[in-house]
């Protein structure tokens, strides 16, 4: 494979395109509503209506507007139509509308703020390319970035470009990606590894699933560029077992990339070799923590270990290892193609680029969005999301999953960037954004997250293992209206201890939902507290000295 071959594939593929493209979303959400049947019916109908020569019914990944799914997009004469809530029996109507007729299906509005306010880098190809055909990806310029890196840039220049972009880890902590790459690149060692963290465990988050299902090659290309930059030749893509569709599409993508020589030995006829193996998680949230994930890749119990040493120095099998998450890798090809400076021009001073969010919960427009960093939260939930349904009002927005916090409605003008969210006691996290309306009981929400952390604690360190149990029990006591002010004090004391002493990020952040709801919704806790008839007596201990005779 050389550049000419890549271009030839792209040209040939473009040349064979039909006039009208009917895109059927076949991501997990729409698939649950028979998107596969819809696609088959559309194909049959195109044939029956004699449009076979002009219409390509294409399987595509997530279009984002999951709450309105199943979705079908139509590209015809440079115009784009979107059909919502499509049923299998709607196929004849959609196909006949291609000939100018009316369509009985609900028409989506591509100019709706839900779409208009988005900016696509990571999801640039989602809903456009067929995730199971590498040619589709190549036709829109895929793997050119890898070629450019391999043939025209030194590894250090690749790191430099990523550093310049200001990209920060999209998984959790927001660590500068370029800095991490540079550390791995400089770490001595003949063998190095790349790990892509696709263990998207936050409840209420499905950004990575969507990227992997919709555009697997953008992740593989990002990983390959990273491998070149740091000097690795083996990669592992760790995906949750709960995402079977993502796994099967990745398997297809890896196979196709290998067949074309875009993965494997001597990529683009350079000395650079890179292989990727998939590792399937097995239901352990803690494996999103990088040292736990590495233990799991090694086939062990996914328990974290203290850092330092950091994976960049001593990771998989003791070798320097670069771990980034799916979304981080998905940004790389764009950065290489368009330059770090271009990327750094998007977003805020400290938070560059875009971020994908899963906007869910009590909100009119559910789905996946990609927005520039720094966009006010209000624009996301009110303009794009359309606010709370059923005439209710928004009470709080939860970001960062079980590690994050609940941002109250009066802070909706906060810009969405790493620092601002942290300042509010929440975190950017991987991108889950769950909207709660005024009917939500915040103590119950805190308890929900604490139960999650308790069940997902690996059990290695005591503060997290035993502390989450006690915090959950105290929250139970509070919600059952059996707790006193002394119990609440104990809860707060435990939050502080578990946060500061736990071994890994899971434990260190497990108290966050309690801390943040206590900060903004303390009244809801206090309303549940009971008087303390058996508390300390007035004038109690120690015995008052004036009563002492001796």
């Amino acid at each position: 494979m050389q550049l000419d071959d890549l271009i030839a594939i792209a040209e040939k593929h473009k040349g064979s395109r039909k006039k009208i493209i009917v895109r059927t979303c076949m991501s997990a959400g729409c698939m649950s509503s028979q998107a596969d049947v819809i696609k088959k019916n559309l194909e049959t109908e195109a044939r029956l209506q004699g449009l076979e020569a002009d219409v390509e019914v294409r399987r595509v990944g997530c279009m984002g507007f999951c709450g309105q799914g199943p979705l079908v997009g139509v590209d015809q004469n440079g115009e784009h139509n979107l059909w919502e809530f499509v049923k299998p029996e709607d196929a004849p109507s959609i196909i006949s509308a291609l000939k100018g007729g009316a369509c009985r299906v609900q028409r989506g509005d591509p100019k709706h703020p839900f779409f208009a306010k988005q900016m696509h880098i990571v999801r640039a190809n989602g809903g456009i390319v067929d995730p199971e055909r590498i040619e589709d990806y190549i036709a829109i310029g895929g793997y050119l970035a890898l070629h450019h890196a391999l043939t025209e840039l030194q590894p250090a220049q690749v790191v430099e470009e990523v550093t310049k972009s200001g990209l920060r880890g999209r998984g959790d902590a927001g660590f500068p990606t370029g800095l991490k790459w540079g550390t791995v690149a400089k770490s001595p060692g003949a063998k190095k590894y790349i790990v892509c963290n696709g263990d998207e465990g936050d409840p209420g988050a499905f950004m990575d699933r969507s990227v992997l299902e919709s555009d697997p090659h953008i992740v593989l290309e990002g990983m390959a560029i990273a491998a070149y930059a740091v000097g690795a030749d083996q990669g592992y893509l760790y995906v949750r077992a709960e995402y079977p569709l993502a796994i099967s599409r990745l398997q297809i993508a890896i196979k196709q990339a290998k067949q074309l020589g875009l993965l494997g030995a001597g990529i683009f006829e350079s000395p650079f070799s890179f292989n990727v193996d998939i590792r399937i998680g097995a239901g352990a949230f803690v494996c999103g923590e990088e040292t736990a994930l590495m233990a799991s890749v090694e086939g062990k119990r996914g328990t974290p270990r203290p850092r330092p040493p950091f994976p960049a120095e001593s990771g998989l099998w003791g070798c320097p290892t670069l771990i980034n998450n799916v979304e981080t890798f998905a940004n790389i090809s764009a950065i290489i193609n368009r330059g770090g400076d271009w990327y750094a021009g998007i977003g805020t001073e400290k938070s560059k680029g875009t971020k994908v969010f899963a906007l869910t919960g009590k909100i009119k427009n559910n789905g996946l969005i990609e927005v520039p960093m720094g966009i006010p939260l209000r624009q996301i939930v009110e303009e794009m999301g359309g606010g709370a349904p059923d005439g209710r009002s928004i009470k709080s927005v939860q970001t960062g999953g079980p590690s994050g916090g609940c941002i109250p409605a009066n802070y909706l003008d906060t810009p969405v960037d790493y620092e601002s969210l942290t300042k509010l006691g929440s975190i950017m996290g991987s991108g889950g954004m769950v909207v709660m309306d005024d009917s939500t009981n915040m103590v119950e929400i805190a308890k929900f997250y604490m139960e999650f952390c308790m069940e997902e604690s690996c059990g290695k360190c005591i503060p997290c293992r035993a502390g989450t149990v006690q915090m959950f029990n105290l929250l139970e006591k509070i919600t059952r209206r059996q707790a006193t002010a002394r119990d609440l004090a104990k809860l707060e004391e435990l939050c502080d201890m578990v946060k500061n002493t736990s071994l890994c990020g899971l434990g260190q952040t497990a108290p966050n939902p309690v801390i943040s709801t206590l900060k903004f919704f303390r009244k809801e806790y206090e309303e549940l507290l009971q008087p303390d008839p058996f508390g300390p007596a007035a004038g109690g201990a120690p015995l008052a000295p004036e009563r002492v005779t001796k």
Binding site: R486, P533, A537, A541, L543, R547, V548, T549, K550
Partner: protein
């Protein structure tokens, strides 16, 4: 005016009270400083009002225990959990494992499974007070000011704690003074 002292015996083996009696000559000093207003060793039927200090031996096992404990808390300034059963639940709390939150299993175990003759759960008022679902240490039921663990706490440790309290200081158990089991 003397300190009004009480001692009570909830679910425990009376070993802590035996240890208390081992205070020997300190008991005489103590008698000068306190009025013993309620105790298993004095004949007072009802727990009096306005008690200054109460040493509570034993865990909270049944409704009778809980009833008097609530009364004690309401009528006493300073409570001391006296001995491991009061502080941790100790041996009495081991019955919790026969059936967590299920006192029936305990009665089965005690009066049926372990019985050699005439297995039957005793019935009738006041014979077996209704058991609590779980045995609990005292401080899980009412607020407790001070703790003196030990099974039993030795006389010297009891003396140290009581002496500190009588001199108006918050007792502090350090080194040898602090011991479980």
């Amino acid at each position: 005016m003397k300190i009004r002292l009480a001692t009570v015996w909830l679910g425990g083996c009376a070993g802590c009270h035996m240890s208390f009696l081992d205070l020997d000559e300190f008991l005489i000093e103590l008698a000068e400083a306190v009025d013993l207003v309620y105790s298993p060793v004095v004949d007072v039927k009802d727990y009096p009002e306005n008690v200054d200090l109460c040493l509570i031996e034993g865990a909270v096992c049944n409704e009778d225990n809980l009833e008097i404990l609530h009364k004690i808390r309401a009528r006493t300034k300073t409570l001391v959990a006296f001995g491991d059963c009061a502080v941790t639940g100790n041996v009495p709390a081991m019955r919790n494992q026969f059936g967590i939150d299920n006192a029936e299993n305990v009665l089965q175990r005690a009066y049926i499974e372990s019985a050699q003759n005439h297995p039957a759960v005793p019935k009738g008022d006041g014979i077996v007070p209704p058991l609590l679902e779980r045995v609990r240490p005292v401080h899980e039921m009412v607020y407790v000011e001070y703790f003196l663990p030990g099974c039993p706490p030795s006389a010297s440790r009891i003396k140290s704690l009581v002496a500190q309290l009588l001199s108006g200081h918050a007792p502090k158990l350090e080194g040898e003074q602090l011991k479980f089991g």
